[in-house]
């Protein structure tokens, strides 16, 4: 039960959606873009999120694409995790989204919603951080396309009123060797203690994490140590862990020290097997 009333809009185009946002905003209303609703509904019922209006983007065709366009894979912001996994067009993404929430929720949660959400883990972003994925954003001034990781710092840096339209994964990243590891406190379905996606591109390992701290990240420092020729495996792991030490914290999932233990183990697996 949600203790406040809100308006609900379901536009058919990106232009309509951003215009609606602008109009609502001009009339002093707090508006949000709305995907599957899982986060908004669950948080609104405990009053930790508020909106006067929600703009549902699921009827917008551009936000529903999930297909190859030329060499590249295009995924609309409104595509659900279940659809992504069933299509299985970008294997590390399939693996990552299949471990987010439970099967019922995966049918509701959208890729855009997971990446932009308030819940800090945003595990769907990891495969995009390790590839050169681009993101298409729109607001009243029009659309822009960016390298996703260039505007992802702790979370996606969106301008006011900006919505995610789609994500484009360049073809050359779709079939690279990869690894996905998710470890939890004790359950299959839970927030991550550590969630990791790694790709091997031209002999170099790219790696992004969630769960270790307050936000997902990719660390070039860490990759520098892992990809270095100067150290033994053990040294690489130790240097890599030290390089991101300040990003790791205690949480309900596990203590910082325990996360570091698991991180070492995960890095070891990546170095051995990828």
């Amino acid at each position: 039960m949600i203790g406040f009333d809100f308006e609900y809009y379901k536009p058919n185009t990106v232009d309509q959606a951003v215009k609606l946002f602008n109009d609502l905003d001009s009339s002093g209303k707090a508006a949000i873009y709305y995907g599957g609703g899982s986060e908004f509904i669950s948080m609104a019922r405990v009053n930790t999120v508020y909106a006067d209006a929600v703009i549902d983007i699921k009827e917008i065709e551009e936000c529903n694409q999930y297909k190859m366009v030329g060499n590249d894979l295009v995924i609309g912001a409104g595509v659900t995790l279940t659809e992504i996994a069933e299509g299985d067009l970008f294997p590390p993404l399939t693996k990552a989204v299949k471990r987010i929430a439970d099967h019922t929720m995966q049918g509701k949660i959208t890729i855009g919603g997971n990446i932009c959400g308030t819940i800090i883990y945003r595990e769907a972003v990891l495969p995009f951080l390790v590839s050169d994925s681009r993101i298409v954003l729109a607001n009243k001034y029009g659309q822009r396309e960016e390298l996703l990781r260039s505007i992802f710092d702790e979370r996606l840096k969106l301008n006011k009123g900006e919505m995610v339209v789609k994500i484009i994964i360049p073809g050359e990243f779709l079939s690279l060797p990869y690894m996905h590891v998710k470890r939890t406190k004790n359950e299959t379905i839970d927030y991550p203690l550590i969630s990791m996606v790694a790709l091997k591109n031209k002999g170099k390992i790219h790696m992004a994490f969630s769960g270790l701290g307050d936000y997902p990240f990719r660390s070039h420092n860490l990759e520098k140590f892992l990809n270095s020729d100067m150290f033994s495996k053990e040294e690489k792991i130790q240097q890599a862990v030290n390089s991101i030490e300040n990003k790791i914290n205690d949480s309900l999932s596990g203590s910082k020290e325990y996360k570091k233990f698991m991180l070492c183990n995960v890095l070891n697996t990546v170095l051995e097997d990828l």
Partner: protein, 778 residues
């Protein structure tokens, strides 16, 4: 057609079709258009003085009928110690405690108004653990304890302390025991609070009619308890309080005493008796309504070198949280059965119930026995290791048997306890015990087997009773009405089977009233303590005997013979030595009509009752007394696969062998044992209420409070031993809670063997294993 026995056979539950089609109705499914709705504001502090509550804005909010605070009523509630204001007054004692209640036309309007209430608090030092509670000069959670009414005669409060109850067991001479011991072990443990997490969150409706009748619709295990509590606490004649309970979506003890019912009553009273609905969110069900108790304990066990236990000394601290509720009685229950199912001649036990600034606790599956079982069983493992003895052999040597005395000095018989030795033998066979307990696999994982025994009695009041009424349909079938609530295990069906068996008719001809209505249903104390089959079954048997007597009386007239000549079977009464002379039940159910027209007798109505016999309160100095009519014993085994590289584990197999006396419905009985085992794994591996340094509950939702999920369970094997309990219906013992009891100890034993380390706290999470094995280093 020959009569076929209706017990010992799996019969589809009476509520099955409604449940699988979604037609089943729970309290929240009954909608009354006229009902108003209540929502509560809860405390963000664990311990604080309430300085000021400003409800002005909330009162002026849309659709609001009233806003009430602790000032609305001075009455304190609590069935053992009246220590709890249903709405906090002057101070709050736990995070999540109700501080104000809003009644509105609609639920969302009530919720919106809740956000507008402003409360000023002055934080107080928190009592955040048992250690905080019992230390010298501890902050008192209840500084005015002495002013409280104490309805229970068995509460022994320690003055000027947080100890609400102290229970002692003194049996034999403990000093002599230590002198004759070759080996002495000590084991300390800690079990945190947890949640019941029933699928249906607690919810109730209340209406007060112009004639003063208070109707309460609620999801409870204790409709009669709710009736009596509301009546006693608020001075309403008992007959004016009517409690209606349909199907209940799980209880596990969490619905065994009134909680939201008080709020529903106060809310209705505040709006002139209009009907008010209140329903917990999941978060409120975890943090506001009562939880499972926490405990710490220390067990010292001595034995001779051939494995005979000489003595047991133990101390338990039960964390009741902010209010006592039924926890003082659980402290007592842990003490009364502290020996486990073993014959120990010298026992010295102290059990304390303490207040803290945590969520208050209430009854939970196992009722204190989960604590004593874990303590004694882990100490038994340590003892076996110390003696170099097989842990099951040690248990066999000491297994309780006919002629032994319980810790409270009750005399044991095979009938009132069952055959533990046989349970252990069967467990050994099923587990392939002699093949060894530790295997390293090709993958480098380690598979180990852990074991535990258990026992439990009812810990019920000395006057706990039940009733049953049978009325007849014109077609000779029977309608049965009895006070057990259907909380999940299929009790209505079990009792129907007992009635069918006694009446020698088909169970499909026994129709049960699935709900409870306290104005028309005969009382059953509470649907708790694994006592429904035993107590209500006995009442039902007695009602059948009453009905059979009447059938024979009328049939003897119809068949022109004496009642002693009559036998019944398959809905007909016939002459024993000439079955061709009979009368059908349908022709006598509503009276017998002579062929000329005149009729006699009228409707047949069977009535029966049961009350526990020879129960005695405990003597405060020695603990001598009798806390239950019978015990149920059993043995459990767990197999785990441990990954020594990352310290995770998988649950492979779990086995329960239990002496049930007589199985009434095999599949339902297996189901209830498996459910218990699954909850046991929840407590052993993940469930825990986590409080931060200010006693703020951190895992208030099922996002972070984890229970066992489908697919994570091991293979479950349930095996029954049947040693009849003479005074039970067809010999059937209580089994409702027992599946949970030994699982935490058996699991911990398996992990200890896999890691070679001792564990002293559950749940055992991989991080804890990592820390224990490595010392917390990478």
């Amino acid at each position: 057609m020959a009569y076929k026995s209706q017990i010992g056979t799996t019969i589809t539950r009476k509520d099955a079709w409604d449940k699988v089609t979604g037609n089943a109705k729970y309290t929240g499914d009954f909608h009354f258009n006229e009902s108003l709705h209540a929502r509560v504001l809860t405390s963000p502090y664990a311990h604080a003085r309430i300085k000021k509550i400003d409800t002005t804005k909330a009162e002026n909010s849309k659709g609001i009928r009233t806003v009430i605070t602790g000032n609305f009523s001075d009455i304190l509630v609590g069935s053992m110690i009246a220590d709890r204001p249903p709405i906090a007054k002057d101070k709050v004692r736990y995070f999540g405690e109700v501080v104000a209640l809003v009644v509105a036309d609609k639920e969302d309007e009530a919720q919106a108004a809740v956000e507008l209430i402003k409360v000023e608090y002055e934080p107080l030092p928190v009592v955040n653990s048992i250690k905080d509670a019992i230390k010298e000069n501890a902050t008192l959670v209840h500084e005015n304890f002495d002013s409280y009414a104490i309805p229970s005669k068995e509460v022994h409060h320690v003055a000027n302390s947080n100890i609400s109850n102290h229970v002692k067991i003194r049996k034999g001479n403990i000093e002599n025991a230590w002198q004759t011991s070759d080996v002495i072990v000590e084991y300390e443990f800690n079990m945190p609070q947890a949640d019941h997490l029933a699928m249906e969150t607690r919810n109730a409706k209340c209406q007060i009619s112009p004639d003063g009748t208070v109707d309460i619709y609620t999801s409870t295990q204790a409709p009669f308890g709710v009736k009596e509590q509301i009546s006693t606490d608020y001075g309403i004649p008992e007959g004016k309080v009517v409690v209606h309970t349909p199907l209940v979506g799980g209880g596990f003890g969490g619905k065994a005493s009134a909680a939201v019912e008080f709020l529903a009553y106060l809310a209705s009273l505040a709006v002139g008796g209009k009907m008010v609905t209140i329903a917990n969110t999941r978060e409120e069900d975890i943090s506001t309504s009562p939880s499972k108790l926490g405990a710490e304990g220390k067990v010292k066990l001595g034995a001779t070198k051939d494995g005979k236990i000489t003595g047991l000394e133990c101390i338990y601290y039960i964390n009741s949280g902010a209010y006592a509720n039924t926890a003082p009685n659980m402290a007592r229950a842990a003490a009364t059965d502290c020996s486990g199912p073993y014959n120990i001649e010298n026992i010295y036990c102290d059990s304390y119930c303490v207040y803290t600034n945590h969520t208050y606790a209430t009854s939970f599956r196992g009722f204190g026995h989960g604590i004593s079982t874990f303590g004694i069983e882990m100490a038994m493992h340590k003892l076996a290791k110390e003696l170099g003895m097989d842990p099951l052999e040690l248990r066999k040597i000491n297994a309780i048997k006919e002629g032994d005395l319980s810790p409270t000095q009750s005399l044991m018989t095979l009938s009132n306890t069952g055959d533990l030795d046989k349970c252990i033998s069967n467990l050994k066979n099923i587990m392939n015990w002699d093949a060894g307990n530790k295997i390293t696999t090709d993958k480098g994982t380690i598979i180990t087997k852990g074991v535990s025994c258990f026992w439990k009695t009812s810990s019920s009041p000395t006057d706990a009773g039940s009733g049953a009424v049978l009325i007849c349909n014109k077609d000779g079938t029977i309608n049965a009405n009895f006070g057990v609530t259907e909380i999940g295990p299929g009790m209505k069906t079990t009792i129907a089977q007992i009635i069918a068996e006694k009446m020698k008719m088909d169970v499909n001809d026994i129709h049960v009233f699935m709900g409870v209505d306290t104005r028309i249903t005969p009382k059953h104390w509470k649907t708790v303590a694994s006592m429904s089959t035993f107590m209500v079954g006995n009442a039902a048997v007695s009602a059948c005997e009453d009905l059979i007597r009447q059938i024979k009386e009328v049939a003897s007239i119809a068949l022109k013979c004496s009642a002693g000549d009559i036998e019944i079977e398959n809905k007909r009464a016939f002459i024993k030595d000439d079955a061709n002379q009979f009368v059908e039940f349908k022709d006598i159910a509503h009276g017998f009509k002579y062929k000329e027209g005149p009729s006699i007798h009228g409707e047949l109505i069977g009535r029966g009752n049961y009350i526990a016999k020879h129960l005695l309160p405990l003597d405060f100095e020695t603990g001598k007394g009798k806390s239950g009519v019978s015990w149920t014993v059993g043995a459990q085994g767990v197999e785990v696969e441990y990954n020594p590289e990352i310290h995770t584990y998988r649950l492979l197999r779990a086995i329960t062998v239990i002496d049930v006396g007589k199985v009434i419905n095999p599949k339902m009985a297996k189901g209830v044992i498996m459910g218990g085992m699954n909850m046991g794994f929840g407590l052993a591996t993940r469930e825990e209420l986590v409080y931060d340094e200010n006693a703020i509950l951190e895992d208030t939702s099922i996002r972070t409070y984890k229970v066992m999920h489908f697919g994570e369970q091991p293979e479950y094997i349930v095996h029954f031993v049947e040693t009849p309990q003479i005074d039970a219906p067809f010999g059937a013992r209580g089994i409702g809670e027992h599946g949970i009891l030994g699982i935490p100890a058996a699991f911990t034993d398996a992990i200890q063997q896999a890691t070679g380390k001792e564990f002293h706290k559950i749940p055992i999470l991989p991080e804890m294993i990592w820390k224990t094995v490595t010392g917390g280093k990478q």
